[in-house]
Symmetry: C2
Subunit: 451 residues, 2 copies
């Protein structure tokens, strides 16, 4: 079971920059109201991400689709961006081989290679077409609204390429949509043309959607057990619901960060000591930044609030960022993602009587982690540890659900709406106008001086 | 030629959070002393990074080595970390195909595939061995001191694997060191065993070493023109030396960030609108953080200074971080890396009368960039643009040198030593102790409570 330690945020461990236990106790009722408020919105069906771990029927349908593709196709391309790409990438690097796309089909046990072209740089898409045999590829177009410009542009391009090389009928077999169950362009096309589609529940927002078909269909295609992921998420959901708030890891994780924001440390670093978990930090970056970066609080007051999440990686960033974390401003809280069992080790052979000979990589990796934590703590730098017994579907499911719930609780503590994103609207309107979409030209008017 | 625009940091463009032109003028003499002080240290041979662009002889030797490998080997593995890995990765993604390692030897025109295992997670190294035929691989071990634990551990493991599969003699042909010209473990081994070695000049620090064999040998191996890279760097070096300080892009770039740090914006985002330049932001992150994150100023006073660099990517992070940048705290300065010519485009085909049909990816990509810049500027969010005419060896060389010089100037403005890293020493000592290195055990004593 995943565990959270906040020891190195306490005064007893890191001195005056630590939190006194009484400070934590003061927030008990705030946390209880936060959890209560989320629970009542869950019950009224407004927070769909709570329900995703329980949708085993959908997991079965995805695994059945993956079985159909296995052996028949080589590649799976996710055409999505943001919340429709970050979770897919994170699951893949956490749970598949580090050089997955270079392995043979046999080594992949029939799991498809995965590509997630989450940008519209022409070089990226041309490069994708060079590397893919489209006749052996399944394309998963992921957009809840069916209006995401980046997603549709890449879809139009890749669909034409597919039809050119594999014929008009290929679309029905090799394209699958993941979109709103009722409305939007992709749903219409699905109905009209008979292209299969999975649902994104209407009450699930993009950045909370990794445990829906958005994140799980590609996972199933590469051979990850989506049922185990959901089981892990359920374990965490039950644990957070039934624990006292000050023992609930999601609440405690939010609270510590909330207290440090008030203390003037708004930069929240996530630093996995696991190469496999490196992209979980990118997924978390979206969740934390887009949910909590808000101009207005819920009463409409201007607050310009929001922590800045930062991705780092152990040990790699010891050679890049740790100098700053050790000696720079006291404006950071660091979360280490720690792993107990790497599922295998590599012996370091003896050579020239060097002290590393006869040790192992896992021992070195853990020694560096412990040394970095001790060094930072000794300088009064607050840090938390989330420990996974091992990187498995189950523990990754636990981690995902804990961080989603924690984000929601943080929104309550900050008194902002963690589920909208009004700040990206203006950019979208201007993009439509610049692309010549009808009825949007007038948006350019007041922006002339910057365009 | 590369250009820098600071327009969207000026009061006339972004209102009260902008800089008044007079504020910039006030710093002219500070910048002149900064440049003068660096120039005198360059002349006395203490700042070797200034000289790297002029070392064309070394460039010739690297290109000759690469010609030897071409056709004979398939893979090039850089065994390094931090400053011995980030530049290599950045050059490769900027200047080679996005799916380089998946292309055939013919498509790569004999350039080697590149792997940079810059971590000691056992899964990463096991995964590397699964994907590589070591008999067809050149291993480049990069460590200036020859003491970097991560580098040596991976070297010992990979060398044994090579000797097992290709025999004892393979080391002399398939291993090449990049290290101090005179001293250290790797230099000794090179002398004793006849393993070829390239030099890291003694006066060049790790994070300023990308234009030495540290970053350039792997570039040459994949077919990047190192001479063109150096030519670009020289163009920038001359330009910065001969321009008035307020027209010199390196000085101006540092100054704007310095002013914003004083205004309370210590988070410095680098956001390329070029998928190819995404890893330049990671390389810059080390340069900026490790150089400028310092506890002491040059008089020994405690300052706990240093900006926090953040990597973002256009358009991808519009769907992740831009909500925070638009609406969150006024604590950020954003640098866009902008590219004029993508060297090719992809047409978006017409479909269902959609407005994107008939446009192109490059147009969409640029529209999103312009829209994001306009939207952020309209909210008083300061942003700069570094524009490359096209991503080529020459323009990347210009960019690298500009950012290195800017970092050095920033150190002068902040009155800190930009060339040391005392904050990582403690972690290293503790790691040695935990790994059982003789004579280091006593370092554990005062850290017991955190270990």
């Amino acid at each position: 079971m995943l565990s959270l330690s906040i020891q190195n945020c306490l005064r007893s461990r890191i001195g005056s920059r630590g939190i006194a236990p009484a400070e934590i106790g003061k927030y008990r009722s705030n946390l209880e109201s936060a959890r209560g408020s989320l629970e009542s919105r869950r019950k009224s069906g407004r927070l769909g991400f709570f329900e995703l771990p329980y949708n085993e029927g959908e997991a079965g349908r995805m695994e059945a689709a993956a079985r159909e593709w296995k052996g028949r196709y080589d590649n799976f391309v996710v055409i999505g961006i943001g919340g429709s790409a970050l979770g897919n990438i994170a699951l893949q690097s956490a749970l598949r081989h580090p050089n997955w796309n270079l392995l043979s089909a046999k080594e992949r046990r029939g799991g498809l290679r995965l590509f997630v072209p989450d940008n519209v740089d022409p070089n990226l898409i041309r490069g994708l077409l060079d590397a893919l045999d489209v006749k052996k590829t399944v394309f998963n177009v992921v957009s809840k609204s069916g209006t995401t410009a980046e997603c549709l542009a890449n879809y139009f391009i890749l669909r034409r390429e597919l039809e050119r090389k594999a014929g008009k009928d290929a679309a029905k077999k090799q394209i699958v949509f993941t979109t709103d169950p009722e409305k939007g362009y992709l749903r219409e096309v699905s109905r009209r043309e008979g292209i299969p589609a999975f649902d994104i529940p209407a009450n699930v927002g993009g950045r909370f959607s990794v445990l829906s078909p958005v994140g799980l269909l590609s996972a199933a295609a590469t051979g990850i057990s989506v049922k185990e992921l959901l089981r892990g998420a359920r374990t965490m959901a039950e644990r957070c619901r039934t624990s006292p708030v000050l023992k609930d890891p999601a609440s405690l994780y939010a609270l510590v960060h909330h207290i440090y924001m008030k203390k003037g440390s708004p930069i929240h670093v996530m630093m996995p000591y696991s190469h496999q978990l490196r992209d979980m930090a990118d997924w978390f970056r979206q969740l934390w930044a887009e949910s909590l970066g808000k101009k207005l609080d819920r009463k409409g007051g201007q607050v310009f609030a929001g922590p800045t999440p930062v991705k780092a990686l152990g040990v790699t960033d010891q050679h890049s960022q740790v100098q700053l974390y050790m000696e720079g401003p006291h404006d950071k809280v660091i979360t280490f993602l720690s792993v107990k069992d790497f599922g295998g080790d590599v012996a370091i052979p003896a050579r020239d009587g060097h002290y590393l000979g006869g040790k192992s990589l896992a021992r070195l990796f853990k020694a560096e982690e412990r040394a970095t934590i001790a060094a930072l703590s000794s300088q009064g730098r607050p840090n938390l540890a989330i420990t996974l017994p091992k990187v498995t579907e189950e523990s990754v499911g636990e981690l995902i659900f804990m961080l989603e719930l924690s984000t929601a609780i943080m929104g309550e503590l900050m008194d902002i709406n963690a589920f909208d994103q009004p700040g990206v609207e203006q950019g979208k309107l201007l993009t439509y106008a610049l692309m010549g979409r009808k009825g949007f030209g007038h948006h350019l008017k007041s922006f002339r001086k910057w365009l």
